[in-house]
């Protein structure tokens, strides 16, 4: 993803002029531990890191640590970074329009430091020594030299210690941990060229190799078998991995879309992916996907929401169509994989079925009930193509009253 900061004037951090600061909607960015992780991880990515290590304890309330090997900050920049509206990534509102880095608001670090005990250690790649600062409730407690490698390490402890109200709003530790895991997983999938590693409560959750291979990153976040089964999407503006019809999950959470390298939440674009699967999935089962979408920066507005997760497109229809088309092609052209259980055990092994030749006339969702003649057409050949073992494939939840003559192209196998 093109995100060099050669385009940004200089790496020095400077306080934004008030006018500019006002131009940015100040919102609440730090509402839960996952938000802290998100901000710190984005800073690390923007710093050009090749390795990012995330560690949390007690669901992020006791400790959140993010370590990176990016370009670091020198002793002048480090303390300034924690002041409100300080950022290295913008000089004027004009820059907002062509912004290519993930973070730019200049609020996050300050917001975090306002509600926690923060220790940041950094050493600049440009030379010089390591430096450490300690900040509590927005106040700089300590600043001193320290021996450390090039890069940045931020330790956030006792989050929300001074805002008990926000503590009460946190969910169960398991839920908060799950959010953090998913967040870091999505970062890892969106940035396969960076080696991400995540430890939760001393337990090693995953680590990606950082070789640039999306599939390898996927294997680390999910598992090797699933990764091997995923289908490649390789269009000019949409690239990534999507699941074969036989693999699905119970929620929409597993469709990860990145626009210009930025993870976004966009219901409609997720629908675009699901559309490509029409006729190939049950209504309550959803695909897995990681898709990098490239859009001209001038065509997309990122300053829509404080968390920068939501964006507005100049021409959303075009983006929608591009995504749907890319997924559709991938599904049609790749061999259809199936998961079949070997006899007598839960072990799954992959077997390739023959390519479904010709375009199956995929039924529209409305006619999903039984509108397709199971004996003819390309879609039906999928059933015949499955081979003798198909007969015992476990039937999916027949929550919609489908009988034995449901369309043959609906896969049966349970997801992992």
């Amino acid at each position: 993803m093109p995100r060099t900061d050669a385009d940004v004037e200089s790496a020095r951090i400077a306080v934004l002029p008030t006018a500019v600061a006002d131009g940015i909607a100040a919102g609440e960015v730090v509402d839960r531990p996952a938000a802290v992780v998100k901000e710190l991880a984005e800073n690390a990515i923007d710093a050009g890191a090749t390795r990012i290590h995330v560690r949390v304890e007690a669901a992020g309330q006791t400790l959140i640590e993010v370590v990176d090997d990016g370009r670091g900050m020198d002793r002048v920049d480090l303390p300034v970074a924690f002041r409100r509206h300080a950022t290295s990534k913008l000089r004027s509102l004009e820059d907002l329009r062509t912004i290519e880095t993930l973070g730019f608001r200049g609020e996050a670090l300050a917001s975090i430091a306002a509600v926690a005990e923060v220790e940041a250690v950094s050493r600049s790649r440009d030379g010089g020594e390591g430096f450490r600062v300690r900040i509590q409730a927005g106040e700089l407690l300590r600043a001193e030299r320290v021996g450390c490698p090039v890069g940045t390490r931020v330790l956030v402890g006792q989050l929300f210690y001074n805002t008990p109200a926000r503590l009460k709003f946190l969910k169960q530790p398991a839920t908060e941990n799950a959010m953090i895991s998913r967040l870091v997983g999505e970062f890892a999938l969106g940035n396969p060229q960076i080696a991400f590693s995540l430890d939760v409560d001393r337990r090693h959750v995953f680590e990606t190799p950082g070789t640039g291979d999306l599939r390898a990153a996927f294997a680390a976040v999910y598992d090797t078998q699933t990764a091997t089964a995923m289908l490649s999407v390789e269009e000019a503006t949409v690239r990534g991995l999507i699941s074969p019809p036989a693999l699905h999950r119970g929620t929409r959470d597993h469709v990860v879309i990145l626009v210009n390298g930025r993870r976004i939440q966009h219901r409609n674009l997720v629908f675009a992916v699901e559309q490509a699967y029409r006729g190939l999935r049950e209504p309550d089962r959803f695909p897995l996907a990681v898709l990098q979408v490239i859009v001209d920066p001038a065509e997309v507005d990122v300053n829509v929401h404080p968390t920068k997760r939501e964006v507005r497109f100049r021409n959303e229809g075009a983006v929608f169509a591009a995504i749907e088309r890319a997924c559709y092609h991938a599904l049609r052209q790749s061999p259809l994989y199936e998961l079949q259980a070997t006899s007598g055990g839960p072990m799954l092994e992959l077997r390739e079925t023959a390519v479904v030749s010709g375009a199956p006339s995929l039924p529209s969702p409305a006619s999903g009930g039984g509108g397709v003649d199971p004996s003819g057409g390309g879609a039906a050949s999928a059933a015949g193509v499955r081979g003798p073992a198909a007969a015992w494939l476990p039937r999916g939840r027949s929550s919609h009253g489908h009988g034995p003559d449901r369309p043959a192209c609906r896969p049966r196998a349970r997801a992992l």
């Binding site: 390795r51 290590h53 560690r55 370590v67 990176d68 090997d69 250690v121 020594e129 390591g130 001193e144 030299r145 320290v146 021996g147 450390c148 490698p149 890069g151 940045t152 390490r153 080696a195 590693s197 680590e207 190799p209 070789t211 291979d213 599939r215 390898a216 294997a219 680390a220 090797t224 990764a227 091997t228």
Partner: protein, 827 residues
């Protein structure tokens, strides 16, 4: 000696007295002959392995004396024979072994060379070496091999006793060390005409040792099967030499046990099979000196680093594999169990899958799977049931339909049992006696029981056997016939299965060579996969190897310290050593600043590079070294009556005597343990010697706490000063852990003492004393010293001074010269 007595293995006499406290069993006694009591102690048969294991760990040899004929059939005393002799170096059962190699080593002392033969009975690996005829050379190899047991000639006892230490040693007849007999024996066992291909045919010492070790194996009742023995000769010049202190300081001593935490443990943990772990251990213990095999190994690792997905698939395939080498070994000994064979079948089934996966890369290509293995696989698959029992003793190992005779026995037995089962019904109908019963007891076997009331209706062929209160019990000839069939069937079945099993084992042994070749390939594959895993996880890079001496490391890290500190805390450092302009790096600075870590990581990086592994650095260019020497850490060997300083000097002397221009020398704080003046003087003299002596010029890392030595840089052009960067903020000292150019200008000892928590009063006073001392008697800067000359207190010079030259005859003079040459040849 353990005698089998019923359900126990018993020991007698002295054995019992020794065993009882060792094993925690009761010492009792037993009468033997008239009124003569003999001490006795025993262990239950079903649990004997754990007890024997304890005896072996204590270094004892154990002979198992089992009953060799059926107790029931015997007349008088049951015949017993020694069926197995177990000693720590000759066991092959998994119960007594850990994962690593287990060597029995024979040592042959001769004048030109010493010969060593190391045999791992459990895998059939036989390594022959020959070393310089010195105690040191022998000791170095023995430390590397970690033998479980030694075999040496009785004649060499006095010389080797100290070296053997606590290793169980068998002192055997000198005649066992017979090189010519060894050649014959090995040629037969390996099925070759000549040993020339192995490169050891000109090593009589090693061959003699080989014969001794083979004899020892035979005496332990081990079978030496052709095809299951693999011989390789190790040429010392091919490997980088690492003496025991170096091994220790670089962290090479541990095994796979999870509690170990040094470098070897870090690496060995990554292996997924026992074969792979052993191979990795061998690679680590013997780093290579030649560039080509190293580049080839590195290429294999690189390929697996680049494709993490395929690598994890490969590891998944390898993970389930059993220890093929050990199974083959046990099968050859006739000690395989049904589970062993089942594991072997599983491995054979998995092999093609692994080959296919690995086949993606030409670098990892495997030898084509020989036809023999395919046939073996079919044979095993058709023979064994799905879930074999642990032992043969109750049968049930072989499938129905595999062997006609076995099926016949089983069918006959089943038919007979069915007949008996149906008998009751049948006889009731036939005789009309409704209350007729068929039963079985231990005394009479099967019987037909009829109550007195029905006495009249008894068929004529019934024979009365037993009378009860309410009735009688009868047998019939046919009943007895069927009974015999059933009772004998079991033992007949077991006997037949044993025969079939032995045949299967024979087939396996016949395919031994192919099996071991495949096992070796799998072991290497696992080893490179393990190296790739570590490299990928810890961000190690591929080193560039050169033939010319010189080391350049950018961003080097100590793998263990880095892992212990966690991410983002270890400060990487560069290192440059070149014989041309930076031969000696003199590193000064306070303790606790990371000097030792820096020194060790240099050694570790070079070691790893020459093992064919990636290294923990950003970039590394390594000129291949012939040896790494370290003099690191002050470990007190007071137990051996040596002081710290003495040990230091002994090790330093050893280094100076053996280093070459291609060696890497690492000195950490030489001169500790003696007075400051002495220490500085010795350190300076050593540095000058390293710099000037033409046979040295070795690349050297020298850490010192004497900052006075930094002045040497002015007179020794290839010596450069570096220091561990330290910053002071007021009274506080901050360690930056960064190596920078320029020497330290002060010692920070007092600061470190303060950090360590010495009372404030002590620290303040120490500062006062220091400034006093520095004011009064500044430690003199080392002067530019004179040309290095023959030290005037050399023993030869001393003798020379004593000689009365006027009265010495030419002949005596010549003899004196010869004597000196002989004594001081090393110098």
């Amino acid at each position: 000696m353990l005698f089998r007595l019923g359900d126990f293995y018993e020991t007698f006499g002295e054995d019992a007295e020794r065993a009882a406290p060792l094993l925690g069993i009761t010492l009792t006694s037993r009468e033997l002959g008239k009124g003569h009591r003999v001490p006795m102690a025993g262990v239950p048969y079903h649990a004997f392995e754990s007890y024997v294991g304890r005896l072996l760990k204590a270094g004892l040899r154990v002979a198992l004396c089992d009953q060799v004929e059926d107790a029931a059939a015997a007349r008088g005393l049951v015949r017993r024979e020694v069926v197995r002799v177990l000693s720590p170096g000759t066991v092959v059962e998994d119960a007594y072994l850990e994962g690593g190699s287990n060597y029995a080593v024979a040592v042959c002392l001769r004048s030109h060379y010493h010969g060593i033969a190391a045999l791992d009975c459990s895998t059939g690996e036989l390594a022959l070496l020959r070393v310089e005829p010195t105690d040191e050379a022998l000791r170095d190899e023995l430390v590397r091999l970690r033998p479980a047991e030694l075999v040496a000639s009785e004649a060499d006892r006095s010389r080797l006793l100290a070296l053997a230490g606590s290793t169980p040693t068998n002192w055997v007849d000198a005649q066992d060390f017979d090189a010519r007999a060894a050649v014959d024996r090995l040629q037969t066992l390996l099925g070759v005409e000549t040993l020339a291909a192995f490169g050891c045919d000109e090593w009589p010492e090693a061959l003699a040792a080989a014969h001794a070790i083979l004899r020892h194996a035979e005496r332990s009742r081990l079978r030496l099967e052709p095809g299951l023995l693999r011989l390789h000769a190790e040429h010392p010049r091919a490997f980088m030499h690492l003496d025991p202190p170096t091994r220790r300081s670089l962290g090479l001593n541990a095994d796979r046990s999870p509690s170990a935490d040094d470098l070897a443990a870090l690496i060995l943990r990554e292996a997924t099979t026992a074969m792979g772990a052993r191979q990795l251990r061998r690679w680590l213990d013997q780093p290579l000196r030649a560039r080509e095999p190293l580049e080839e190994r590195l290429a294999r690792v690189a390929v697996l680093v680049a494709d993490p997905l395929a690598r994890s698939q490969l590891q998944a395939e390898l993970r389930g594999l059993p220890d093929l080498e050990r199974i083959a070994g046990r099968t050859g000994q006739g000690l395989a169990t049904p589970r062993d064979l089942q594991a072997l079948l599983k491995a054979l089934r998995a092999l093609p899958g692994v080959q296919r996966l690995a086949g993606r890369w030409p670098e990892l290509a495997s030898p084509p799977s020989p036809v023999a293995l395919g046939a073996l696989q079919s044979a095993l698959a058709s023979a064994l049931v799905e879930e074999v029992p642990a032992t043969l003793k109750d049968g049930g190992v072989f499938r129905p339909g595999f062997d006609a005779e076995l099926d016949g026995i089983r069918d006959g037995s089943r038919a007979a049992r069915e007949w008996i089962g149906a008998l009751e019904q049948h006889e009731r109908q036939r005789s009309g006696i409704r209350s007729l019963k068929v039963g079985f007891n231990q005394v009479f076997g099967y019987y037909i029981e009829i109550s007195h009331a029905n006495r009249e209706a008894i068929p004529s062929e019934y024979v009365r056997k037993q009378t009860l209160v309410n009735g009688e019990r009868y047998i019939t000839p046919e009943l007895k016939e069927k009974e015999t069939l059933v009772l004998n069937a079991k033992s007949a079945m077991v006997a037949r299965e044993q025969t079939l099993f032995s045949e299967l084992c024979r087939r396996i042994t016949a395919a031994g060579k192919d099996l071991l070749d495949s096992a070796a390939w799998l072991g290497e594959l696992d080893a490179v996969t393990a190296l790739a895993s570590i490299a990928s996880r810890h961000r190690w890079v591929q080193p560039t190897l050169r033939d010319e001496p010189g080391i350049e490391i950018i961003g080097g890290r100590h793998p263990l310290v880095e892992a212990a500190l966690g991410p983002g805390r270890f400060v990487p450092n560069d290192l440059r050593l070149s014989p041309v302009n930076q031969q000696i790096v003199l590193l000064s600075g306070p303790n606790m600043a990371g000097k030792s870590t820096y020194l060790r990581q240099a050694g570790i990086i070079v070691l790893l590079a020459q093992t064919g592994s990636f290294v923990p650095a950003e970039r590394a260019v390594i000129g291949l070294c012939d040896r790494i020497f370290t003099r690191v850490g002050a470990h007190d060997e007071l137990a051996r009556g040596l002081s710290t300083f003495m040990v230091e000097m002994v090790e330093t002397a050893h280094i100076l005597a053996h280093a070459t221009p291609r060696s890497l020398l690492i000195f950490d704080e030489v001169g500790r343990g003696t007075s400051t003046y002495d220490g500085v003087s010795i350190a300076q003299a050593i540095l000058e010697y390293l710099h000037e002596a033409p046979q040295l010029r070795s690349l050297t890392l020298f850490a010192t706490h004497y900052h006075e030595l930094t002045a040497l840089a002015q007179q020794l052009p290839r010596l450069r000063n570096f220091r561990m960067e330290v910053r002071e903020e007021g009274e506080r000292v901050i360690f930056l852990h960064q190596v920078v150019e320029g020497g330290a200008d002060r010692s920070y000892g007092i600061h470190v003492a303060e950090l360590a928590g010495l009372p404030r009063q002590v620290v303040v006073r120490a500062r006062q004393v220091l400034s006093d001392l520095e004011g009064q008697r500044p430690l003199e800067r080392p002067e530019a010293s004179a040309q290095l000359s023959l030290p005037l207190d050399h023993p030869v010079v001393a003798e020379l001074k004593q000689l009365d030259l006027e009265r010495l005859s030419p002949r005596e003079a010549l003899e004196k010269l010869f004597a000196w040459q002989g004594q001081h040849a090393a110098h």
